[in-house]
């Protein structure tokens, strides 16, 4: 009887863990960024993005994630800022409309922490990035939270008169929250 109860508990635990999160809910997800302007932190966000996700907490190594951000949907907090960063010296959204992240491996760091390695491509340039993220199950959906820092110069974001870092810093912190429902 005890054995049966244990087996049942394990089976339940397994079935809970075997949930795979795939349905990304855009309205409960966000992509934001923080950079420094003359030493002062300024934040912004992207309004439109899409993601394909396969994540099973029981099998993190098999997880896959692709993330596409529509760069023209940038919100810098000022309309003239939005127009400026869409232009050639910054994102050049006419030639390079999308920023894309494709995961290559997902590693569990213990607890609810994970490390997602992958390639980030912006403006025709690609860089390997390692993104730490946490995962929290909330009912039928799971929430991924994380942030990582990129250097805008690595992607030629802000060329010409913006290339120096005295006004707009090189480091840009990317913060994301992805909410995905299970199948």
């Amino acid at each position: 009887m005890k054995k049966l109860a244990l087996a049942f508990t394990l089976a339940t635990a397994f079935s809970v863990q075997a949930v795979e999160y795939t349905q990304v809910q855009a309205d409960k997800s966000s992509v934001a960024f923080v950079y420094k302007q003359m030493g002062v932190a300024v934040d912004g966000k992207f309004k439109r993005f899409s993601s394909q996700l396969n994540f099973d907490p029981a099998k993190p190594a098999a997880a896959k994630a692709t993330f596409d951000v529509e760069l023209a949907s940038v919100d810098t907090g000022a309309p003239e800022g939005d127009d400026e960063v869409a232009g050639k010296p910054w994102f050049n959204t006419k030639a390079f409309p999308t920023a894309r992240f494709v995961s290559s491996s997902v590693k569990s760091l213990g607890g609810n922490r994970y490390e997602v390695a992958g390639q980030l491509s912006i403006k025709g340039k690609s860089q390997d990035v390692v993104v730490p993220a946490t995962f929290t199950a909330q009912g039928n959906s799971g929430v991924f939270d994380g942030s990582f820092t990129i250097r805008r110069a690595d992607f030629s974001i802000g060329e010409g008169s913006w290339a120096k870092f005295d006004i707009v810093a090189n480091d840009v912190l990317i913060k994301f929250r992805i909410t995905a429902a299970s199948k």
């Binding site: 003359m38 002062v40 400026e84 008169s161 707009v168």
Partner: protein, 180 residues
């Protein structure tokens, strides 16, 4: 009864005259510039100078409260005396309200003010686009009112000097410096 302003009062008056006229001119100039690193730099400088002006006006108010200014000429009509006091009240009110509106506008627009890039001034308002736009209109309108008041202030001083031929203008000039 004192017949002249103190050296400190004169110093603050002329320092702020230069600073505030510079701030107004910079404000109009930078607003119309296309976005560039220079524009962002000028905005920061404008905000730093604005915070400085606000602190200076507090010092000036403290000085004014503790040092009774010279009285208005006795032969000045009561209505004119009232207008003079109202004008000065408006100048002080605007010198306080304009930097406050600029600071609140910056907060609402999501750009915190950090004095000389060192001392962060807390954001009293959260980022809010509509409120930011409204406060921009307020900041601009108060400045237009300020320009009108300054023109009135200068015009009145010149009228006192050239038409009334009293000492209203000269008692604020450096050469009439009284000890203190």
């Amino acid at each position: 009864m004192a017949t002249h302003y103190t050296k400190t009062a004169k110093g603050l008056h002329w320092l702020m005259a230069v600073l505030l006229i510079g701030l107004i001119a910079l404000g109009f100039y930078m607003h119309d510039l296309p976005l560039s690193p220079e524009k962002l730099k000028l905005y920061s400088w404008h905000k730093w100078a604005g915070v400085t002006a606000f602190l200076l006006v507090l010092v000036r108010l403290a000085w004014r409260i503790t040092h009774i200014p010279p009285a208005l000429p006795v032969n000045m009509p009561k209505l004119m005396q009232l207008a003079a006091h109202a004008g000065h009240l408006a100048l002080y009110g605007l010198m306080l309200a304009i930097p406050l509106s600029g600071w609140l506008m910056s907060s609402a627009k999501g750009f915190q003010t950090v004095w000389f890039g060192v001392l962060p001034i807390p954001d009293l308002l959260d980022k809010n686009k509509e409120l930011g736009d409204l406060l921009q209109t307020v900041h601009m309108s108060l400045n237009l009112l300020f320009i009108i008041t300054i023109v009135g202030h200068i015009g009145a001083a010149l009228k006192h000097h050239f038409i009334d031929k009293d000492d209203i203008l000269t008692r604020m000039l450096p050469k009439h410096a009284k000890e203190n």
